[in-house]
Amino acid sequence: MTENRELFADLARRLFSDHAGQAVVEAAEAGQFPSALWTAVAEAGLPQILVPEANGGIGADLPDACAVMQAMGAFAVPLPLLETIVARVALAQAGLESPDGPIGLCFIDASRSLENEPTVQWAGKTDAIVAIRLEEGGGRLAMIRNPLLTSRLTLSAEPGAAITLDAVDWARPVDGFEHLRLASTLNAARIVGALGWCLDASLAYARERQQFGRPIGGFQLVQNHLGGMAGHVAAASTIMEACASAEPGHSALHAACRARLGDAIDEVVASAHQVHGAIGFSREHALNFRTRRLMQWRDMFGSTPYWRSALSTGLIGRAPEQIWASLAGA
């Protein structure tokens, strides 16, 4: 980790441990926007962490922003921070003024049905929603101040709504795929943060929880679960880091990252709950605040199946050495 990145990670952890305690998360899941948390995050400049300094942002690198997202995942932070970070980058690129407050974000892709009816997290509680329509070679952006919304049940239990985009003015051309990759990479970082939390919590619980007269972590079958989790978390962390520091055009790494994370989430969530037993399933336990978010994040900004297909589509029908050359980078 670079020095800068360590600083951002510390800052985020401090902010979240001060302002995103379990009571805040629970209130958010009951529909209440965490205003004090947002104010603290905004005062630290995090919503414009990736906006260039010339445009009034912090101008940090993607790995720095990923460090903030990892902390967000670990703390199960209920805030449209990722959405606002990407929306501000996209608005700056489109030459549009950003609203001051939080911004919702969604992508659509008519040809590949990225999301048929996009659900926007925190829709209705944000100043605006930025919608990006992906098109061959680019895309178009719309900023929607008064969206037409239908409330939706979400996996995370944070508020969310489906947005109707029929009458939207797709005002500005943008590099839609670049913004999708950015959102997807930040999403990967918060997933990795939550996965790491699940492993650490499971390890701590396995050491402390006694059954049959000894800590359950002493049983080989439980160790097997934990060892398997460690592998998936290490894999997730490695591919996310590779993706965060990749050249901008390396789409295979981006697709591989999100596709691999989808499987890591399935495995880690199952094992973390298995190690925790019934207690992790009770609503008040911290574990399920992470696992519900992991279920949600798994398929946001491109679902796991979307990214799987994105990775292989251009390679099918090619000769083995061409396939390898593409996977191993040129």
Binding site: A230, A235, I239, L311, I323
Partner: protein
């Protein structure tokens, strides 16, 4: 985050490694054109002395070893690129594989100067092949229970016992073996590593046929085999820690997730768009394992012994290889009619199914690896 995770430090391949990649690809393309490298018709390591000599002629065996031993003096990251390129192309590198991957490095690390000068140049020329003498009939996962015994005699040692599942013993010139040299209170003490000339009196190599129909591995008997003093590698009694270091080389390479790539690639060549998602899922694991391996290569370059990282990658990698075989089988069975399944694909799939149970056993079972990981997580 847990210690097991901070262990895998992200790494990138330097420019000189990518430059070497281009050279290796050019060599492979040339071999394809001139008949030295054919598209594989079955999964599993292929053997060709002629090919090993050609690889050696390019200076690509012992790539990281010092030049005075015939090596290339290059980095572990360059060697990583070389090995992944050779394996992805299903090149027949089996003859020199073990010598290059672990026997040579063990001699460099623990051998005497005389041993290094005696064996390393021949390995680097692609002329000396090695095999690994660890497993025995009664000592599989519990390696320390081995019974091969070397007893002191004048001018050396006398070895008796048996090794099993010794890949390539029938082609190799030497074996580096682990034997008990004294009985100690601690079972991991009193073990030593020796260099065995497989043509020595008292050594018998018999093939063991595998369920694949191939006879790549063997049983090796030692009947009063005389080992001169200079056959001892490293220190007497230090065998266990030497073998542990060796396992980091044995378990960490790309062969632990690339051995089914030829099958996946053969399917992709003829696949239909309806298979895209299932193929993409497999590729996402492959791309991730590759990044993990690059991290391990960087760790080796720093002079570390990444046993925990190697266990993580081998555990995930070998499960992935089995996953590939199952997934390709199902795609061929359910939708193969809609694409041109070649006899080559069928051959790869049949041999892949036969070979797949071995992936999670050879080089350390998944259960042993999970134990190593559990230790790394401070659970043991």
């Amino acid at each position: 985050m847990a210690s097991a995770l901070s262990a895998l430090v992200p790494a990138r391949l330097p420019a000189e490694a990518e430059a070497l990649r281009a050279e290796v690809r050019q060599f492979l393309a040339q071999e394809r054109d001139t008949g030295g490298l054919a598209a594989p018709t079955r999964l599993g390591m292929l053997y060709s002395e002629a090919f090993s000599r050609k690889v050696a002629a390019r200076g690509w065996i012992g790539l990281t070893w010092p030049k005075k031993y015939g090596g290339g003096g290059r980095t572990a990251l360059e060697r990583y690129v070389l090995t992944e390129e050779l394996l992805a192309a299903s090149a027949p590198v089996g003859c020199h594989w073990v010598a290059d991957r672990q026997s040579g490095p063990i001699l460099l690390r623990f051998g005497s100067e005389e041993q290094r000068l005696r064996y390393l140049p021949g390995i680097a020329r692609g002329e000396l092949y090695f095999c690994i003498g660890m497993s025995e009939p009664g000592a599989g996962s519990d390696l320390a229970s081995l019974r091969a015994k070397a007893e002191r005699t004048s001018g050396g040692w006398v070895l008796n016992g048996q090794k099993l599942w010794t890949t390539n013993a029938h082609r190799a010139h030497y074996m580096i073996t682990l034997a008990r040299t004294s009985k100690e209170e601690k079972r991991h003490a009193g073990l030593s590593q020796f260099m065995i000339d497989l043509k020595a009196t008292g050594v018998t190599v018999r093939p063991v046929r595998a369920m694949t129909g191939e006879s790549d591995f063997n049983e090796v008997f030692f009947d009063n085999v005389f080992l001169p003093d200079d056959a001892l590698i490293g220190e007497a009694g230090n065998g266990w820690s030497q073998v542990s270091a060796e396992l980091a080389y044995e378990r960490s390479g790309p062969e632990r997730w690339l051995s089914s790539f030829a099958l996946l690639a053969a399917l992709m060549e003829v696949a239909t768009g309806s298979m895209a998602e299932r193929i993409g899922r497999l590729l996402s694991h492959l791309v991730t394992l590759r990044q993990m391996s690059i991290s391990i290569a960087a760790s080796l370059q720093r002079g570390e012994t990444p046993n925990l990282q190697a266990a993580l990658v081998k555990d995930l990698g070998t499960r992935f290889e089995q996953d590939v075989v199952r997934a390709v089988r199902d795609m061929v069975l359910s939708e193969g009619g809609s694409c041109a399944t070649s006899s080559r694909l069928t051959g790869l799939l049949t041999s892949g199914q036969h070979l797949s149970p071995a992936f999670t056993i050879r080089g350390g079972t998944s259960e042993i690896l999970r134990g190593v990981i559990a230790k790394g997580l401070d659970l043991r």
